[in-house]
């Protein structure tokens, strides 16, 4: 009964989404206030029914209703309760429902927090979001019904062991909050193109929404990277896997969008460009969904895939992205270019920022799709991996990070170069000096380490100069300003983490018998053997490693090797001793003869800094949203070009 209710709620939501899109959009075109006023109630009702469907699916999973195909395939009577709930979005169908649910959340938020929007703008934004929602609901009902029933099964085939992890409880919802959140910026952009009104107030409305989505996406990606680090058992934090790239690309374009929105709001420039980026960020979210869901690419952590679904999503992409780009081509020239600026100005720095970010996105997109292009041309299935991405990505990101130090200190319109140089020379000199000398204290001098330090110190120094300058002029508290600086500091922290772990990580891949000791850096690992163990839905072996440093005990680690009973899937569960300056990472390999095991031992300096930096970036974003300016009425403070 409950699954049928959920199914029915989805059908009602589909109809409401149609109402939510057609009436307001047509109403806005004809200037009919009654039709436009349908937008809000229709959107709220649609969300209500999607929420009911989501609740019904969660209920089916929690009560182990094995008459529902989705539950049978992704759950098991022995599955711990928390993962039963997580399994709600552990499948393709469930994650599409989560996608739609989160889109509903964002639409709800727009109806609640954008009272100051003009009626026609509001109608168009909600109408466009309704169209997207309609597409996803239709997709679910036509090809991926999460409530499909079958003959009652005895038991389920269990949730993918990779997903049986506390991180998976929160990672997908947060990642989707980011992914889907760009739909708001997208809807604003389409609304602006439809109305032909693209002024500074448009940028000011969409800025906090974009920043919020970006912050969620930052945390979502960070959690995904962290999950890959501790759960895949390989000891890396980024693999350039198509699934990871699918979330990185909208993040890169979203980052460009945040910066170009600043120019559009403050100076009225970059208008058409900003609209293009807003379309681009969301389009890449949709493309990511296609790449992950359709099975056109092979990935280390790809999920169940199906070409008919791929075809549907492709049609959907064609309509949404193709339609938007067509609209862009028709209307963008009317939007205008906005204020002029000199060759050296904050605008031009931000333009270079945008070009670099977009080039990086293009490089990632090319690397991700190159195997697909070859396949489509009948040239075989291949992988493009870290060698390509690292050699392309690092040279693009290095100048970008360097510029993020100068940009915020540069004046709009025109920079007085000698004055700026005078302001920065001490900071730059100090950064270079420390960056060159500091690696000597770590034992071995490496050019890439000095470069990493230089970039990081440069950001710290320029942030300090900027903040001090602000305090002197007593311009008062600006959440936007301090948020930006916090986010930039986050970049500095992440750069340190990446630099240290990629240059100083030590790894030992050894055969150990009971009682053997191996020393990695200063840490001595003693292998105390392996015991059999039984978990709720798996059996396995649990190793014990005593870690000590200079004879003093540091930690006891228990890496595991598990076999999940329902699926028979073997699985490596690493054990990590976390620390601010280093992680000790251990994983069990194969059982060898005579009670010996192959064991992997890593010393990973400063690896947590990668994720701490990402958290700072997201916090910076959230701080920026609280800026007073976004809550004042639309009449005040519109910038003149």
């Amino acid at each position: 009964m409950i699954p049928e209710l959920g199914h029915f709620a989805l059908i009602l939501a589909l109809l409401l989404a149609l109402v939510q899109s057609i009436l307001p959009l047509v109403g806005a075109a004809r200037n009919n206030p009654v039709w436009m006023s349908v937008a809000k109630p229709a959107a709220r009702a649609q969300f209500l029914f999607v929420a009911i469907a989501f609740g019904a699916l969660a209920y089916s999973f929690l009560t182990l209703d094995f008459s529902v195909v989705n539950v049978t395939r992704n759950s098991h009577s022995r599955l711990p309760e928390i993962y039963r709930f997580t399994a709600t979005w552990g499948s393709h169908e469930g994650s599409m429902l989560l996608w739609t649910f989160i889109l509903g959340l964002w639409t709800m938020a727009v109806t609640l927090f954008s009272r100051h929007l003009p009626e026609d703008m509001m109608a168009r934004v909600i109408g466009v979001m309704g169209l997207v929602s309609f597409g996803f609901l239709l997709f679910m009902l036509a090809t991926s019904n999460p409530f499909l029933r079958m003959e009652m099964a005895m038991d389920g085939s269990d949730l993918n062991p990779l997903l049986q992890d506390p991180g998976m409880v929160v990672h997908p919802p947060i990642l989707y909050m980011g992914y889907v959140g760009f739909s708001v910026a997208f809807a604003f952009a389409i609304a602006a193109l439809l109305s032909g009104k693209l002024d500074a107030s448009w940028a000011r409305w969409s800025r906090p929404w974009t920043t919020a989505a970006w912050s969620f996406l930052t945390v979502g990606i960070m959690m995904g990277s962290w999950w890959a680090y501790y759960e895949l058992g390989w000891g890396g934090w980024w693999f350039w896997d198509p699934v990871e790239n699918a979330s990185l690309m909208p993040w890169l374009v979203g980052t460009a969008l945040i910066h170009s929105l600043a120019v559009t709001e403050k100076r009225g420039s970059f208008k058409a460009w900003t609209v293009f980026l807003a379309i681009g960020a969301f389009s890449l979210s949709l493309l990511g969904t296609f790449l992950v869901r359709s099975g056109v690419l092979s990935s280390v952590h790809s999920f169940a895939t199906d070409p008919t679904r791929g075809l549907f999503i492709l049609m959907f992409l064609l309509v949404v992205i193709g339609g938007s780009l067509l609209l862009f081509a028709l209307r963008a020239s009317q939007v205008g270019l906005g204020g002029r600026f000199a060759l050296v100005s904050r605008e031009s720095f931000l333009m270079v920022n945008n070009i670099l970010l977009l080039t990086a996105t293009g490089a990632v997109l090319l690397g991700t799709l190159y195997p697909l292009f070859l396949d489509a041309l009948g040239l075989g299935k291949i992988s493009v991996g870290p060698p390509y991405f690292n050699s392309v990505f690092v040279p693009l990101v290095t100048p970008l990070i360097f510029l993020s130090g100068i940009g915020p200190l540069a004046r709009w319109k025109q920079v007085n170069v000698p004055e700026l140089a005078a302001r920065l020379k001490w900071g730059f000199g100090a950064s270079v000096l420390v960056a060159v000398l500091l690696p000597f204290t770590l034992g071995e001098w490496k050019p890439m380490v000095s470069l990493g330090y230089l970039l990081s110190l440069w950001i710290v120094v320029t942030v300090a100069i900027g903040v001090r300058g602000r305090m002197r002029t007593s311009a008062g508290w600006s959440a936007n300003f301090y948020g930006m600086n916090l986010a930039h500091l986050g970049v500095a922290v992440t750069v340190i983490g990446v630099t240290m772990v990629s240059n100083y990580q030590s790894e030992r891949n050894v055969r150990m018998e009971v009682g053997d000791t191996i020393t990695v850096q200063d840490y001595t690992f003693r292998f105390d053997g392996v015991k059999d163990m039984v978990g709720p839905n798996y059996k396995g072996s649990r190793g014990t490693l005593e870690v000590s440093r200079n004879g003093k005990p540091v930690s006891t680690l228990h890496p595991e090797k598990r076999i999940y009973t329902a699926s028979g899937m073997p699985f490596t569960e690493s054990a990590i001793d976390y620390g601010l300056t280093r992680d000790l990472y251990t994983a069990l390999g194969e059982s060898l003869d005579g009670g010996a095991w192959s064991v992997r031992l890593f010393h990973k300096p400063f690896v947590v800094w990668i994720w701490i930096g990402a958290v700072l970036m997201a916090l910076g974003g959230l701080l920026a949203i609280t800026d007073r300016r976004y809550r004042t009425s639309r009449k005040k403070g519109s910038a003149k070009a």
């Binding site: 056109v296 292009f373 299935k381 291949i382 991996g385 891949n509």
Partner: protein, 174 residues
Amino acid sequence: MKRFLIPLGIFIVLVGFLAVGLKLDPREVPSPLIGKPAPDFKLALLSDSAKQLSPADLRGKVWLFNVWASWCASCRQEHEVLLDLSKQGGVPIYGMDYKDQPGDAQAVLNRYGNPYVETVVDLDGRAGINYGVYGVPETYLIDKNGIIRYKHTGPVTVEVLSKKILPLVKELQQ
């Protein structure tokens, strides 16, 4: 207006590729190297970096040369197939670990099993260039005189093995 049409144009091309990608299967590719001597190299072994191997050492044998890497997702697909083949022992498989960290490669072999008689390490991909490697995995069949007789791009499947590679191996071994 023309320049605003560029994104749309690029997108349409992309959709074309995606649409084809949904349908097509990988096929055999002609390679300019077929019928030519296997390009020479002298590379360190993964198992023991003090020892080296070069194609000349394998003269008189028919052998499979498989280019792979730990970071390559589709290599994992063919790994099972190669493991089965190595157990049957019809033809020796030599691997080349392409642009990879030896530690990562060894970890993959430890974790999933080792189908290779030996694996050579092509750290910077220079040997790979001579073979025209544009992505991994790629597999070459080389005859007793060191001539490349067949090239397969993408994961080796059971079908490719039974229909193309193994019959050709039998023919060449006579």
